[in-house]
C-alpha cells in the first residue's frame, strides 16, 4: 500500500463532485431546509480548509455545535490557573488555551506580567518536564475525550510527585444530550467526531438515537470522509431514519479503544460541570478520581472551581454570542462584533481565540455565512 497515494485518494476531487451531487439530490427530495450539527472543531477546520461550505446545497445547514474544547472551558477554571501562576507555580498548558480570557485576563497576560506559563504539545512532554523539575508543575489539562486519554495515560505511568493536574476535560456526548434537549433546537441529525469515537466507540450513540429519534453518523476528517458522512446523514433525515452509522470504520469500531477507555475510566469519573456559554452539562466533565488525589490540583492547591471571585466582565463580553453559536442557535456572522470589534488579534470570546472556535475558523477563512 502506497501511503502517500492513499492519503490523497481521500481528497479525490472527482469523487467529491459526485458525492456533492448526491447530497444535492437528497436535498431536492427533501424540498425543505434541514439543519444538522457537527461537534468537532477539526470538522469545521477541514470544511473551511477545503472551502466546502461554499459548495453545500443552499438549504442544508451544517451547524457547528459545542466542539471546541478550549471554547467551553469555563472562566473559573482559567482563573484558578492564573491565580496559581501568579503565585509562582509553573503552569503548563496546550497552546490554544493561552489567550483565552478568564473573567479578567488570560494566561498569556499573566505570562506577560512575569508568571511562568509554558505551552506544551503533548501529555508525554508534561511527564518529562515534571520529572526534570524539583518544584510543583501544574498541567492545565483541557480537551475532550480523545485528549483526556492522554492525560489518563500520563497519570497511570508512574507520574512524578511534583506533577499536579487541573482537569478541565470534557465529555462531548453529554453536551449533545443538552443540545438535543433544547426546545428551540432544530437539529435533525448529528455528525459525530471520528477521533473521539475512535476512543469511545460508536455504541454509545445507540441509546441516543433511540431516545431522540435523530440519526448519528460518525465521520472522519478528509474531505471525502466529511462528504460521505453528510450524504449518509442527510439521506437518513430525508428518509425519516434514525440509525447510528459508522462512516469512519478505518478508525472507529463499535466498542472503541477498550484499552484507552479503561485508562480513562480508571483515572476519571463523570461529574456535572459548567461549560462556558452552554451553562450546565450533566456528566459533562471528566473529574479526577479520589485515588489520584495527590496529583489533583483541587487537593494539592485547594482549588475550588466554583468559588472564583466575581469580576466585572468587559461590556462587550456580555454581548458575546459564543454560547448561542456553540449551541447551534446562531452562526458567527450573526454576531454584531464578528470581524469588527472581535477579531483574532482582539478577541472578545473564546470562539475567536481558539483555533477550533467557529468564529476564528470563519474569520480566518473569510466565511460569510448567511448574513
Amino acid at each position: 500500500m502506497n501511503a502517500v497515494k492513499t492519503r490523497l485518494e481521500f481528497r479525490d476531487v472527482a469523487v467529491g463532485k459526485a458525492l456533492r451531487a448526491r447530497l444535492q439530490h437528497a436535498m431536492e427530495r427533501a424540498g425543505r431546509e434541514i439543519s444538522v450539527m457537527h461537534v468537532c472543531g477539526s470538522h469545521e477546520q477541514a470544511m473551511a480548509r477545503y472551502g466546502m461550505r461554499a459548495s453545500f446545497p443552499r438549504d442544508l445547514r451544517v451547524q457547528m455545535g459545542p466542539g471546541c474544547p478550549v471554547c467551553v472551558t469555563d472562566a473559573p477554571e482559567i482563573d484558578a490557573c492564573i491565580a496559581l501562576a501568579s503565585q509562582g507555580v509553573r503552569v503548563l498548558t496546550y497552546g490554544d488555551m493561552l489567550r483565552v480570557p478568564g473573567r479578567a485576563m488570560s494566561l498569556d497576560d499573566a505570562r506577560a506580567a512575569g508568571a511562568r506559563v509554558e505551552v506544551v504539545y503533548g501529555a508525554n512532554q508534561v511527564a518529562q518536564i515534571a520529572r526534570e523539575s524539583k518544584e510543583p508543575v501544574l498541567f492545565f489539562a483541557t480537551g475532550f475525550e480523545t485528549t483526556a486519554v492522554a492525560t489518563a495515560a500520563l497519570l497511570l505511568d508512574n507520574p512524578s510527585d511534583n506533577l499536579v493536574v487541573l482537569s478541565a476535560h470534557k465529555w462531548v456526548p453529554a453536551a449533545m444530550e443538552v443540545v438535543a434537549q433544547t426546545p428551540e433546537s432544530r437539529i435533525e441529525g448529528y455528525l459525530a467526531a471520528g477521533h473521539a469515537a475512535t476512543i469511545t466507540g460508536y455504541g454509545l450513540f445507540e441509546p441516543f438515537v433511540e431516545r431522540y429519534r435523530i440519526p448519528v453518523v460518525i465521520g472522519g476528517f478528509e474531505p471525502l470522509d466529511i462528504l460521505s458522512a453528510l450524504v449518509l446523514l442527510t439521506e437518513q433525515v430525508v428518509d425519516g431514519k434514525h440509525e447510528v452509522v459508522n462512516a469512519f470504520p478505518r478508525c472507529v469500531t463499535r466498542e472503541g479503544n477498550k484499552k484507552a477507555l479503561a485508562a480513562m475510566h480508571a483515572v476519571f469519573e463523570m461529574g456535572d460541570g459548567d461549560w462556558r456559554g452552554i451553562a450546565h452539562v450533566p456528566s459533562g466533565n471528566l473529574v479526577l478520581r479520589k485515588e489520584f488525589e495527590r496529583w489533583d490540583a483541587r487537593s494539592r492547591f485547594g482549588v475550588e472551581l466554583a468559588a472564583a471571585p466575581e469580576v466585572e466582565e468587559r461590556a462587550a463580553a456580555s454581548e458575546c454570542r459564543c454560547g448561542g453559536i456553540m449551541s447551534g442557535l446562531a452562526e458567527p456572522s450573526d454576531c454584531q462584533h464578528f470581524g469588527k470589534a472581535c477579531r483574532p488579534d482582539a478577541p472578545i470570546g473564546a470562539c475567536m481565540v481558539s483555533t477550533e472556535g467557529a468564529c476564528r475558523i470563519w474569520f480566518e477563512h473569510g466565511i460569510e455565512g448567511r448574513r
Binding site: 456533492r20 480548509r49 477545503y50 472551502g51 459548495s55 488579534d345
Partner: protein, 338 residues
C-alpha cells in the same frame, strides 16, 4: 489604497512581512515620500543610461542562525540577490555586508557564516565588496544580526505591480520549505525528516526565464516572509486585479506537505527563500516554464493560477471542493503540533 495604521508601539507583527508591516512602512517611512521609493517594490530602480541600476537592502535576524539547508549567511546573500532579481536585475554588480555581533559570539561560527556566504556568492556570480562590523554588549543584541545591500543592473525593470488580466501565475518550485524547516528547528518540534530550507540565489534562474519570456514577463516577486499568500496579495492589490489559484497544481515536497498537516499550518503562508512568483502573459507560459525547468533550481516550476478581474485585490484558492479566499496573517503562524 493606503492601509489603516494606528499602532503606537511596535509589535512582532510589524516584522512579519504582511499587512501590518506594509501599513507601518506606508504610514511611518513613506509618509511624505514620492517617486521610486513610494512604489515599495523589492528594490529601487534608477535609470542609468539605457539600462537601470537597481539597489536593495535587507536585514536578517533569523533564529536559529544555522538551520537545515542553510544559515544566516546564505540567507543574507540570497535574500539580497533575489530582491535584485525580482526587479529584473539578474546581473549583480556588488554586495555589501554589515554585521552586528553580540559580545561572546563564537568566532568559529562567524567563520562558518562567512564561508557559507562565499559559496552563495559564487552561485550568484556576485561578491561582497565592502562591509561594516559592530559589537554590542552581552544581551544588547541577539547573537548575530546582518544587513546586506545589493547593487545590480537591469535592461528592463519588472515591477511586482505589473500583473495583467489573463496572465498565468508561475512559481519556480516547491512551496513552504524554508519556513517549515526553520519552524521545526526553532521550536524543537522533534520532527526528523527531509525538511530542508530552499535558500538559494535565483538570479541565474530568473535570467533564463526573462530571456525566454521577454516582455511577456509582467511581474515578479519572491514569496519570503508571509509566504505565497502575502506576495500574491500584494501583487493583486498593486495591479488592482484578482488571482485564482488551483490547489491541485500547487507543488509541495512530501516532507513539507506532511509537516504542514502535522503542524496545522498552511504552507502558503510560510516563507520561501529560494522561489520566485512570476506573472507571465499566457502565450509565453510554455516557453518560460521550459526555461525554468531546464535549470536545477526550477525543476518543479509550474503554473499555479491565473489573473482575473473579479474579485479585485483578492487571492482565491480553488480546492476542488469549493473556493476559499486566502488571507494574509498578521503575524508568524504558530505550530499546533500533536
Amino acid at each position: 489604497m493606503k492601509l489603516p495604521f494606528s499602532d503606537e508601539s511596535i509589535g512582532m507583527k510589524h516584522g512579519a512581512g504582511g499587512r501590518a508591516m506594509r501599513a507601518l512602512i506606508e504610514s511611518v517611512f513613506m509618509d511624505g515620500v514620492e517617486g521610486e521609493a513610494a512604489l515599495m517594490d523589492d528594490g529601487a530602480a534608477i535609470p542609468w543610461g539605457d539600462r537601470f541600476l537597481v539597489v536593495t537592502t535587507d536585514a536578517h535576524v533569523i533564529k536559529p542562525i544555522f538551520f537545515p539547508g542553510g544559515d544566516i549567511g546564505r540567507l543574507a546573500v540570497s535574500g539580497v540577490v533575489n530582491d535584485l532579481a525580482m526587479m529584473g536585475a539578474t546581473e549583480v554588480l556588488a554586495l555589501t555586508s554589515s554585521v552586528i555581533l553580540e559580545e561572546g559570539f563564537p568566532v568559529e561560527l562567524l567563520r562558518r557564516v562567512k564561508a557559507s556566504m562565499q559559496i552563495a556568492c559564487r552561485e550568484a556570480n556576485a561578491a561582497v565588496l565592502t562591509g561594516d562590523t559592530k559589537v554590542m554588549g552581552k544581551g544588547e543584541v541577539d547573537g548575530l544580526v546582518m544587513s546586506t545591500s545589493g547593487l545590480g543592473v537591469a535592461d528592463r525593470v519588472v515591477r511586482d505591480g505589473g500583473l495583467q488580466l489573463g496572465d498565468a501565475v508561475v512559481i519556480t518550485g516547491t512551496i513552504g520549505d524554508h519556513g517549515l524547516a526553520v519552524m521545526s528547528a526553532r521550536h524543537k518540534l522533534g520532527l526528523e525528516g527531509a525538511l530542508v530550507s530552499d535558500v538559494a540565489p535565483l538570479n541565474l534562474l530568473v535570467r533564463a526565464a526573462m530571456l525566454a519570456g521577454g516582455d511577456a514577463v509582467h511581474a515578479m516577486k519572491d514569496p519570503t516572509r508571509g509566504g505565497v499568500v502575502s506576495a500574491l496579495a500584494e501583487m493583486a492589490e498593486k495591479a488592482d486585479l484578482g488571482i485564482v489559484l488551483d490547489e491541485s497544481s500547487l507543488p509541495y515536497s512530501e516532507a513539507a506537505r506532511a509537516a504542514a498537516d502535522l503542524l496545522g499550518i498552511d504552507p502558503l503562508g510560510v516563507a520561501n527563500e529560494g522561489k520566485a512568483l512570476i506573472g507571465v502573459r499566457a502565450d509565453a507560459l510554455d516557453a518560460v516554464l521550459a526555461a525554468l525547468r531546464a535549470h536545477p533550481l526550477g525543476a518543479r516550476a509550474t503554473c499555479i493560477g491565473r489573473v482575473v478581474d473579479d474579485p479585485r485585490g483578492a487571492v482565491l484558492l480553488d480546492t476542488g471542493f469549493g473556493m476559499r479566499r486566502l488571507f494574509e496573517r498578521d503575524g508568524e503562524p504558530l505550530p499546533r503540533i500533536c
